[in-house]
Amino acid sequence: MAERPWLIASALLAGSLAVNAEPAADGDGFKHPLDRLHFNQSLDQREFERSSLAILNVRDPWERWNRRVYHFNYRFDEWLLLPVVRGYRYVTPGFVRSGVRNFFSNLAEIPSLLNSLLQGRGKRALDTGARLLFNTTLGVAGLWDPASRMGLPRQSEDFGQTLGAYGVSEGPYLMLPILGPSNLRDAGGQLTDFLTANWVDYLNVATASDAHPEIYALKGTDLRDSIPFRYGQLNSPFEYNQIRYVYTRARRLQIEE
């Protein structure tokens, strides 16, 4: 009787080992990888369908307008933005491009800082403030990014996120011309961040941009260059739906985070 528990334990151990071990290969050397999976015993569980249909559920009352804008953006991107980006990459050496990228990112720390403060995220606001300080001084007006090397990664916060953090709902999905996927709340947030940056007028860039609109052009080119997404990249006739879901879900993740 005394050895019974040992028997059971060793049997259990052997069982668990058998499950975890790699399945032995057959005579051809084939390892039958699917044999190590637990399949649902019921014939067809339809979990894929249930999950996938749920993601199509995004509030989109302006779908027709949005789809037209999506196709417009597709062409605008292909015929204008991407050729400009290619030309920019061709004529500008890499270190200049990264300087431009860092410079505009440094300006964008201002709205990030304000929004971190508005959300009451002290640690993040401090980090962003420190980044702003180091990069503007040591990094010569933000052309370099020494802060990242000091272990202060860039953490962007925008007004859409702030609104989301205070429980403002997304509102209908909105495809913005040229700017791409958004929703009513985030589009308002983008506008607010833009106006705030103008009002703060950090390093006088906003004032200078009004006199020299080419600064906006450079900023736009750099922005497009920094986003790896290409229209058509998802390679599906349902790309519109997929972008819509990914955008909406990613924003929720950012706000929850």
């Binding site: 050397g29 649902n40 996938s52 006739p237 985070e257």
Partner: protein
């Protein structure tokens, strides 16, 4: 007695003719760290074990389009107009060089990540590279496919061959010294059929053909893939769907790290954390990706042929038509459903009947057995734990290719293609 030398000679020739055994890579020396086929398929090789590749700035490349079906253009529904011409990508060397055609896998277009990876690898080794969409990709179906019902290997290969000839005509000034061919997954199956077609048409006279993780029997392959979404995932009940479960794990993982960092090592790092995905979850994830590909194929084929299974015939479709109802229908069609509802009826109608077994016999690698066995220029690389294989598939490859089959012990489906040992073997084959 004088017969003895003759018999000995005969035996000797028989032995020489008999196939040498496949090159089985020893697991102990292989060094690929991911021994779980699902993990390998999803994360692929950890970044530090990948080969050094040229960056975009170092590659002279451009996308081109081919107007292959001008007659279809005016009949195309508004939502397919952006793929009315077939795109491909050419990376050109500034000196005469051999050219490699790369055929993408199931549902993938010319710019998909694996095709891009192979381009970088071969370009870095001094080849011109042309990246082609798979005949199962919706852009290829719309712009280049004659029947827009992919799955019949010979017809798909015929469409591909015409595309390749058009590419060569468009790039007539490119100094090409020889043509090679490769493909992965379903693209590898296509490469085998294209190579056989080339033996009669002689447009390219491919010097070397490399099949990477080919689908040996596409019917086995799609049955496996359809099955992957039937795994039992603990915790998906009620309001929590499978995707939300995965996203929940990702969120907790990011919260633990303190910031969101989307990079190549993300999935690898996730698998090292306590939020790691189980085998069943990974299988379901892989299965889901393929189900989206199946939905695109079913939808596009039905729409282009006006079969009325997903989109009602003559339903007006413009750029702004909401497509969600059709997406919902398409998502409910897996590969098996596409086969029974679209591919098999089309095949029966055109080839006056025939059984499923006959169809499978015509579209799998077995259909080319004699050609593959006798053609020294073709080689295969496969994994012992590839998810798309069925019982007997590796046995067929061993019998047919002999020492031209390299069998790696790990890697899942294409997960080790970007492992240094594999990339080195690929380059050696083409330089050979």
């Amino acid at each position: 007695m004088p017969r003895l030398p003759l018999i000995a000679a005969l035996l000797g020739t028989l032995l020489l003719c008999g196939r040498l055994p496949a090159a089985d890579i020893d697991p102990a020396n292989y060094g690929f760290p991911l021994h779980n086929p699902f993990e390998a398929t999803i994360t692929t090789t950890p970044p530090e074990l990948r080969p050094l590749l040229p960056s975009d700035d170092e590659i002279d490349q451009q996308d081109y389009s081919l107007p292959l079906r001008p007659e279809r253009r005016f009949a195309l529904p508004g939502n397919l107009r952006q793929v009315e011409d077939l795109r491909y990508r050419l990376a050109r060397q500034d000196h005469p060089a051999p050219l490699i055609f790369v055929i993408s896998g199931t549902g993938a277009n010319y710019a998909s990540s694996l095709t891009e990876y192979l381009k970088r690898l071969f370009y870095g080794a001094g080849f011109h590279v042309v990246q082609l969409s798979s005949p199962t990709s919706y852009d290829f179906m719309t712009a280049a496919s004659s029947a827009a019902t992919p799955g019949l290997s010979r017809e798909d290969a015929d469409d591909l061959y015409r595309v390749m000839e058009a590419v060569r005509a468009q790039q007539a000034d490119l100094p090409v010294t020889a043509y090679h061919l490769t493909g992965y997954s379903l693209g590898a199956l296509h490469a085998a059929f294209v190579s056989q077609l080339d033996e009669t048409r002689h447009s390219f006279d491919f010097k070397r053909v490399l099949l990477l993780n080919p689908a040996v029997n596409p019917y086995n392959a799609v049955r496996n893939l359809d099955r992957l979404v039937q795994t039992e995932v603990a915790g998906v009940t009620g309001n929590l769907t499978f995707y939300e479960l995965i996203l929940g794990k990702l969120t907790r993982y990011f919260q633990h790290r303190g910031y969101i960092d989307l990079n190549e090592a993300l999935l690898y790092d996730l698998q090292q954390s306590k939020e790691r995905l189980t085998n069943e979850e990974m299988a379901m994830l892989i299965g889901s990706v393929f189900r989206f590909a199946a939905a695109d194929i079913a939808y596009t084929s039905d729409l282009l042929n006006r079969r009325g299974l997903i989109t009602p015939p003559n339903y007006p479709i413009d750029e702004d038509t909401p497509l969600t109802p059709f997406f919902i229908r398409a998502l409910q069609c897996n590969f098996g459903c596409y086969l029974t509802e679209q591919l098999i009826p089309q095949w029966r109608a055109r080839h006056s009947g025939g059984s499923l077994a006959q169809l499978i016999g015509q579209i799998s690698l077995q259909a080319l057995q004699d050609y593959l066995a006798g053609s020294r220029k073709i080689a295969v690389m496969h994994n012992a734990d590839d998810l798309i294989l069925g019982p007997g598939d590796l046995g067929f490859l061993r019998r047919t290719f002999g020492e031209r089959l390299t069998l790696y012990p790990f890697g899942g489906h294409c997960g080790n293609l970007n492992y240094r040992v594999n990339s080195q073997a690929m380059l050696e084959f083409f330089r050979g």
